[in-house]
Symmetry: C3
Subunit: 203 residues, 3 copies
Amino acid sequence: MESLLLVLDLAGILVFAISGALLAVRRNLDIVGLLALAALTGLGGGWIRDILIGAVPPASLADWRYLLVPVIAALATFWFHPAVARRERTVDVMDAFGLGLFCVAGSLKALQFDVGPLSAILLGIVTAAGGGVLRDVVVQRVPTVFGPGELYAIPAAAGATLAVVGHELEFPATPVAIVAATVAVTWRLLAILRGWHAPVPRA
Amino acid sequence: MESLLLVLDLAGILVFAISGALLAVRRNLDIVGLLALAALTGLGGGWIRDILIGAVPPASLADWRYLLVPVIAALATFWFHPAVARRERTVDVMDAFGLGLFCVAGSLKALQFDVGPLSAILLGIVTAAGGGVLRDVVVQRVPTVFGPGELYAIPAAAGATLAVVGHELEFPATPVAIVAATVAVTWRLLAILRGWHAPVPRA
Amino acid sequence: MESLLLVLDLAGILVFAISGALLAVRRNLDIVGLLALAALTGLGGGWIRDILIGAVPPASLADWRYLLVPVIAALATFWFHPAVARRERTVDVMDAFGLGLFCVAGSLKALQFDVGPLSAILLGIVTAAGGGVLRDVVVQRVPTVFGPGELYAIPAAAGATLAVVGHELEFPATPVAIVAATVAVTWRLLAILRGWHAPVPRA
């Protein structure tokens, strides 16, 4: 079970890191830029959460396997970026699984520290979306998660909310986590497929 | 007394959060962007201070009322942004009160941790201006507080300095805080009214 | 010895801070912007490292001399920026010494906290290059260290790696630090002199 979770976690970081490295290629950055954006995108959300709750050094700095994954993502994108870019929709779909995993895992980790349920939900969203925000800010792009693209933070909020509510009601942990992650992933995939957007203020 | 301070604190966060949500509207972001910019602007300065002094999780993550305020600001701006935008000068004036409050409260909180008086002043300025810097960086605007707009950080520095000096001289806390905040607010309001700017290097 | 290290540390911060203040002048910021960019560039890398490893408040907030240096850099640049700008290549050369010093000192500090060797190397690079990244992000410039300029992070990575490997092999500390810093400085200076760049993905 624990090694399954580790593999899922590393897979989520890998997909996020590839999206960061791909953006670095498009902005004509060098290998340093690819490595930096891969690491920021893959690990940044967890870092923000861990810094805010005081869980430092973050797990990804205490375990070298977490650092190796963005390096692999950056090198693979460096060599094979035309093939990766052609499969960007595939990256988006895999990214949805990272989203589902990280919003649930992030909010459950936050609950172990001295924050309330509302903060735990917020920190779940930050875990899932924070790396992408850092990625975008660094290359001077308004974070895509802030609009007007397809739903991203709202499915993450749903997943985090289900995880936190299930935890507060003392439901069994594993089924709650699976249901919460599945809701987030499904909602995100449907949003991509159907072109669902979050509401925008009227002009 | 304590509940007066809480109300003042929440009111300051509300005004800052409205300025963040208003900028999000102007950049055509969706409701997620409004919520994120409201939270970053309202709570970000305190988060940076708390992370730097090790006061984590920040108070605003341990008390759900602090998280509710940016949500209210974002929803109100979402629905009523034309009316809010017409009153932007009113928002600026209320923002001056947030500035005065946060530079004093921020420096006094920093003094309780292991930093010297100069750092406490810096952290007071960061508390007052840091949320606005995060807001601007996220939407790709050079932080307005860095120039060339009307004086903002300098009144905050004055308020923080008075608060720290008063504390070091062991003057009674409440009058010192009121004088320090009043100086910051008045200076900021006069700067808006008279168009005072900080010095710029000659070309 | 200890006061030699302090002087070197402050000198490194000074050079970094000057590069931040100079960029602020070029972007037409006011004295607040100069002070903020000087502090972010000079101290920001160390702050990110200290926040990630939990060494808070950072040393530079507990010792007023560290805060005075960016103030001096900002004021000197404010008054004498035409002369400073004419000597930008000199600033670049001095910056190389800051780079060598900070990558080694940063990785050795990280090793004292609960992170592995790979993380210590990463944190050494962050100490050396993080302030420049913050400086660039704030004024909406893609961080120069991410490409396509002359080698910067790679010499820092070499210095940090040598320092960490030497430490793990329990070699004597001072010679290891001197060799590691010398390699980083020399490599960076040669990169400037010869126009060496990091590899870029083929188009």
